[in-house]
Subunit: 253 residues, 2 copies
Amino acid sequence: MLQHAPSNLNGFLARLNGRSVLSEDEQRAILDLPIRVKQVRQNQDFFSLGETLDHSCYVLEGLVGRFDQTAHGARQISALYIRGDMPGLESVVQPTAGFAMQALSTCTILEVPHPALRALIAANQAIAEAFWRDNAVDASILAQWVVNVGRREAKVRIAHLLCEMATRYCAEPDERGRLVFQLAMTQGQLADATGLTSVHVNRSLKAPRAIGTNFHSGTVRTDDWDMLAKLGDFDSVYLDTGPASEPRLRLIQ
Amino acid sequence: MLQHAPSNLNGFLARLNGRSVLSEDEQRAILDLPIRVKQVRQNQDFFSLGETLDHSCYVLEGLVGRFDQTAHGARQISALYIRGDMPGLESVVQPTAGFAMQALSTCTILEVPHPALRALIAANQAIAEAFWRDNAVDASILAQWVVNVGRREAKVRIAHLLCEMATRYCAEPDERGRLVFQLAMTQGQLADATGLTSVHVNRSLKAPRAIGTNFHSGTVRTDDWDMLAKLGDFDSVYLDTGPASEPRLRLIQ
DNA sequence: CGCATATTTGATAGATTTCAATTTATGTGG
DNA sequence: CCACATAAATTGAAATCTATCAAATATGCG
């Protein structure tokens, strides 16, 4: 890893490095991006539907949800973003947001101005490529979200979502298969993410033959990760995380 | 528009031009991409889950579905592609496909080899940007798909899908609001796209208070487009089609 | 303590799936 | 043009899942 003056964008760089190959100069350029620090309180939108953005939003800390909604006001969370993610990176090429971004927990957001990102992309193709690839992974996640909501029953949807988030948080089960991690969502938000009702989420969690996982005040606990993953029909390949399964690409040498 | 020797990639260029600004040289470079013509019969996969791609697939003619599936074999169509679309463009930066691509009608596909695409991207940043933007629109469509499947009832889901496809096909209603267009899908495939059962799709289409639209052997007919759009909770902005609503961007001058 | 938010529970209505069977298209070879 | 095979559309009845509405119980926080 690159030695460099402390920057809050380290996590973003680590995310990119996991999937793309960047030179030292390129890495430094990313860390040198100008930022504005912004604290966002829980349940507060930090941008809204129809808004035109002039910056992208790096999540330094906290949990963020992308909220879409129907004309009748029903809400659907179509993506979750955690520390290290850059929601709205694509706003560089598509500035008008068709959705709202909301902090599910208190968040620290680093706003990266579009002009700086544009200059960086224009000056360095490898970085543009890494950004594009990052976006492509987000799209894969989105496609799996469609499958989850469209073709699985309630219990399985919930289990799958928990598995995905555990994996993205890099939470590892212990030797006995037990796993604990933080997921700062209410059952209502879980419902918005899975296309269910909060009542039904509650029941699925509590049912006699439930998912065998405890979800309480933002903490997920399971005694059997493998069982949860099986119930949740979960295969992590689409997240393109963990050890490199395919050689990292670099179009530009 | 650019004067140039005939190329089958004209539709792709037109698609890109609708959203990005490309110089004449850049446009010509796209039209000059090498292609392999491939005919794909109805219901035939032209690539499968887990396959590593060495080319992207331009749809010259026909209807294509992206099929994801659960471990139990339930199928979910998470995207549809029509003439002018380039499904798997992102395979340039992400070659391993986590899904299958299937021809819903007999298709003519132009395979564009990755090496040529890579060279083009490496040599021209504005094109890389246009590709990224094209992908970003696909991601917007995907997010709306999540909302559709997650938060709308059957009838509305179907109506919304029909509206989306009509809009993407640029099918215009006549002065009386009537609209007819081809959508080469069976009711079963419509079910796979909307997260429903073929039986239920059939009933929603036939119900006394149905969507007022006739869907038969690949032809969609409605007598009242506005009504369908309203029922389907449809707002086309996310498709970023039609007259430019925001100034087209170009990061690189 | 008292408000605000989140969780839990019950009862009921409604939507959707499942399974099974029938009818209607569509295509193909004789 | 008919007979056959196949795929698609349609219908019925019953089971199941999920939503809705309303109320009660926790939980956190100032």
